[in-house]
Symmetry: C3
Subunit: 127 residues, 3 copies
Amino acid sequence: MPLVRISLLAGKSESHKQKVSEAIHRALVETIAIPAQDRFHIITEHAPADFIYDPQYLNIQRTGDLVIIQIALSAGRTLEVRKALYRRVADLLHQEAGLRKEDVFINLVETAKENWSFGTGEAQYAT
Amino acid sequence: MPLVRISLLAGKSESHKQKVSEAIHRALVETIAIPAQDRFHIITEHAPADFIYDPQYLNIQRTGDLVIIQIALSAGRTLEVRKALYRRVADLLHQEAGLRKEDVFINLVETAKENWSFGTGEAQYAT
Amino acid sequence: MPLVRISLLAGKSESHKQKVSEAIHRALVETIAIPAQDRFHIITEHAPADFIYDPQYLNIQRTGDLVIIQIALSAGRTLEVRKALYRRVADLLHQEAGLRKEDVFINLVETAKENWSFGTGEAQYAT
């Protein structure tokens, strides 16, 4: 159910992008308890002129390895769970993809659980 | 008003993409009653490594023809209307663009009706 | 905190895109009072077949210079503030980037203030 958009500077290897995607997915599985099969990620690469970030907003030092992750997901996770998600994404991206934790930007876009159709035209999560 | 982001694997023909966009637009017009002129779609193509989907989550068999459709729209449609939208998008993509209904993934992102400006710096839908 | 996605037809100059991004950022700073350093923009260019817009919906005449701006931001801005934002974005894109105000399309996607992590795995805006 999460639809994950992963944006980064062009030029990273396929292996790096794969590790990034896998780390994010594992963090989602571990913290917000999505099924292991529930994985839908779109990765986009951008030229430097098109990928604009502040290198020190909030005194966090960002580099060209920055990954901007926007996750659409069903609403209802507690603040503690969302905080655990951010921590786990940053930890796993550091551990598995070698990223500095400062280079992990996350935004959650919450939607109703009825706002998804995973195929066949049905609203699989509507009760 | 809906802003529709259509993502698919690279390599589809222009004709196919046009049919996909037209089918989605027609489904929106028919089910959530947007004006026929209210059409704003952005289509993006992605390499296989960048377009990651589970091929059988929820026992729905997906192929490389998968279309991931994320629709930002004003909130307020009933569940029945949203369900009708999913059904109609899948039906028309099957009928008009030859897609299997299993290859139609939809996510709605609802926003306030005041959250749109269609040009000239005004909030045309604000009351 | 706003995550700004700027979409336009391919073929514009880097200078134009830079002016567009700067104008949008300045409008955000001036109207919704984000810090000057709080800038995260992703610009994408699209072929004509992939960038579909109605050229006169709501009697607004749009051209190939259209910029579609989708802004994820924390909820809570009043309607007046959001209206001021639209006006200022259109004014500054006209003034600084030479765009017709009719060619400025804006959509806001509001999220909870806890739905952001700006790096290091923390939820910097959560209280």
